[in-house]
């Protein structure tokens, strides 16, 4: 069970939270102008990242606030939690 550091409440058990999928996917502002493929990409397509992954969580059984989490999809380590408005950590330069 993950230990998630809610930016508002502090570290709590995963059971207090709901996962909300990949973070930083903005809703298209002019949806009507998108092609079907572009809309489907927003609607259905998510990255299947192996490694550090930014995702949204909500502290459902706590403060009910949404925030972002950077979690490693292999080790499940959480290195960072930050507010919705925050920016994701830049990926490190490859060798």
């Amino acid at each position: 069970m993950l230990l998630i550091d809610c930016p508002h409440c502090g570290p709590r058990d995963e059971t207090e939270f709901h996962a909300g999928g990949e973070a930083h996917i903005a809703r298209p502002e002019k949806a009507a102008e998108l092609t079907d493929a572009q809309w489907a990409d927003y609607l259905f397509m998510r990255s299947n990242t192996k490694g550090w992954f930014a995702e949204r969580w909500v502290h459902a059984a706590g403060c009910r606030r949404w925030f972002n989490v950077e979690r490693h999809t292999v080790t499940h380590e959480i290195r960072r939690t930050y507010p919705m408005a925050g920016a994701p950590t830049e990926p490190e330069e490859g060798p």
């Binding site: 230990l3 009507a32 079907d36 489907a40 949204r56 909500v58 080790t75 499940h76 380590e77």
Partner: protein, 1001 residues
Amino acid sequence: MTATRPANLRAPPVRARGGDWVDDTRPIAVSFDGRAYTGLAGDTLASALLANGVRVVGRSLKYHRPRGILSAGFEEPNALVQLGKGAHSEPNALATRVEIYDGMTATSVNRWPSLSHDVFAAFGLLARFMPAGFYYKTFLGSRVLWDRLYEPFLRRMAGFGRAPVGADPENYDQRHLQCDVLVVGGGVAGLASARAACASGARVVLIEDNPELAAGLAASPAKEWIDVAIGVVKQDATVLTRTTVFGAYDAGYFAALQRASDHLPQEARAGVRQRLWLIRAKQVVLATGAIERPLVFPNNDRPGVYLAGAARAYLDRFGVLVGRNVVAFTNNDETYATVIALKKAGAAIAAIVDVRANLTGGAVALAKHEGIRVLEGYVVVDVRGRSAVRGVTIAALDGGRREKIACDALLMSGGWSPAVHLFSQQGGKLIYDPGMAAFVPDRRPADPWCAGALCGETGVDAAITGGWRAGSSAATALGKPAPRGLTAELPDEPKGDAPLAFWRVPVAPSAERKCFIDFQNDSTLADVSLAVREGFTHPEHVKRYTLTGFGTDQGKTGNINALGNIAERTGGDLARLAPTTFRPPFLPVTFGALAGREKGALLDPVRVTALHDWHVAAGAAFENVGQWKRPWYYPKDGETLDQAVTRECLAVRNNVGILDASTLGKIEIVGADAAAFLNRVYTNAWSKLGVGRSRYGLMCREDGMLFDDGTTTRLAPDRFLMTTTTGNAAAVLDWLEEWLQTEWPDLKVYCTSVTDHWSTIALAGPRAREVLQCLAPGTALDAENFPFMSYQEVVVAGVAARVFRISFTGELSFEINVPWHDARHVWEAAITAGAAFGITPYGTEAMHVLRAEKGYPIIGQDTDGTVTPLDLGMAWAVSTKKDFLGKRSLARPDTARPDRKQFVGLLTSDPSRVIPEGAQIVSESNIADVRLPQSSPVPMEGHVTSSYFSAVLGRSIALALVRDGFRRTGETVYAVADGHAIAARIGPTVFYDPDGTRRDG
């Protein structure tokens, strides 16, 4: 009666050594397979049975070979017993772990009709015809044979205990625990870890599976150090014994099961039987030890063949000698100490057979000094005796000499496999250590610390040193000061010979099917060889093909031998084979412990309305809607459901009914941007809705599918009251919050659930206005002053109320919202005032009939997550101008298809026939017997979503989703149910008062 105990099995000199778990002043009476035996307080069932000379304790899974006790602990594959009776009964208990108490009853699980006369034993003779993959290959052919013959037979054969009948009468508990350092394993290494961590000031939890810490080390030279450490740790740490850590999860989270009173007789169990501990630890030390493995040779499964370490445990802990004339077969030094201990306790040692040659170490020298015959470079090639070992045949590994040796017990040891289960469960990697011939933890920085036999620190002094180091590292990683140095004076241990990896005794292929690898699943060397020959060379494939590693023991003894032989058979390198995945639980866990207190009334909270007591007193039958209890119908004078619902429906249509609608979800949406927000979440437009007016709205997800519906009212320019479906109230609030917080934080809006702030009392029917007028005498309630879809604040029965003129029945209707604590007063006032008008309380069933007569859909019943507003025929509620959630998806090619499944009404040809809800709809009537397979597939055209008998119409009505339904008005289709095709005609969804004159009047 007490069976005679074979003489000298509990030899007094052995017991005098101390360190025993048993109290020989306290005999304990137990029953096994209907026979009475006497053990001692502190015995396990296994040690008591061994002390009574019982050898056969079960039958093997596939061949029903007699099986005896193999081990002394949790790795036991054979000695599974059914404990207790009736609802208290527990299947698959390990006799090697069960502590006996007076009156215990146990039965062996895998035999029929009895252990000694086993009907299936003939399978042993058929062994050659039941190779690996037997099930897959044999039962492919005939479905009929499978149903009638194979499956019932296999189920009986499969054995392994019976699930108890009846609810579990025991109590279980769950507790949470947080600590700095969790130490798993209370052997010497764990004890040293806990002591070191305590010494540095850490908050420590130490968990041990056995009833005692440092089990079986009373005879150790380090006894004094151990005793002091136990005293200190018990004082400074939380120590849980009889507790098994069975699961290791992310971020230092562990689950452990404490057998709080399993060791007590039923009548002495006060309170809790077992307790589930959920532990969050900042640092973890695993000192889980190692599991000895069998050697692989013909008839290695005979009762009387033991793991060598188990023989030592039975002697040290229980004073039980497993044999009086013993042969040992080994590949490592540790067996020698065991054999010498048995010899000192009075057993004759016929020989030690060692696969290694040219031994020079201290262990061998000591054995020879004791006068024990050591055969180096030899192996056991056969075991004689079917139900008990009578002797062995040995042979030189180089193919030379053979010899038969008589014995009554054979100890075997193929070396030790570190118990890496928890380490692997939490993601730790393993690495093959050729020196130990075992997979060991390949510890990375974030992994738990490891100590003791888990990482090859064998011997007491190595375990103490390693344990201290691990405990100290765990504490200092948390910033604690390093504990002061380890001061114990520990004797040097003699240098020995290294173990030799040895995965099988070389035998003829025909003998391989008697060489057992997984005792519980009866997988043999022949099975592994066959699997590899047929191309299953990955360990995960071999596991599934041969069943090795399944079952209650999950291959604790067998898996490594399977791996070793896969490597040999494929010519591969064992170091490059990964063991099969370790998953929780480490040992089987009772469902009761996982449920804990969350059962019965505590399983799920029950929500009741402010009027619940009134409904109970009125004799209502209730239905569960989510967590709510809602009146379903109010039977009068022994009415059936149908009779009551007919009466309630007619009362609403002809006079007036009253409904407790308090469970309706209610959310206040407040703020300068409230209307703009509603515009985005509802499919229709809200900006122009006037204050005091209500509007029906539909909500879609981004994929365009309906999510919820409800009526929302503008209470003030910046304040709306949204209503939701009863079961969807929380989900809708979550949905609104999600969009506000994640996508539109710029909107000035906040949402508050007021569901149980306001009780809702609905008055519905042509005389509803007259009833309300009695309760609110001064208020103008006529259609002009209080029109349909409007709202007013009205004093009702002396209470300030919010009254909405909205209707879910199609009748003239007022929904009165009053504060929760005023609801009973207002409701009773309405009942009293309404008596003159024939007011009738109605429940959810009548409500459903009434709304279906009007064609009002229920989201979640008439829709299923694949239905758009357009599919429901509600284009009128979908804005073409503004954007809203899901709008773009309505234009996707599949969503915009004109022939989607659409919401229609169905009228059966036979008006008395009510179609069962869920019935599939087809367009062909020429189905001779729908119960028989059809010659060609019959296209499914849709299904019935709601179906009732309408009292006011005097006929059945149904709502359905039908492919291309809008264009098929007038067409006859067939609903298939209960073996019949019911003819029905497609028509509009509104069956009653299509113009809405009753509602609007």
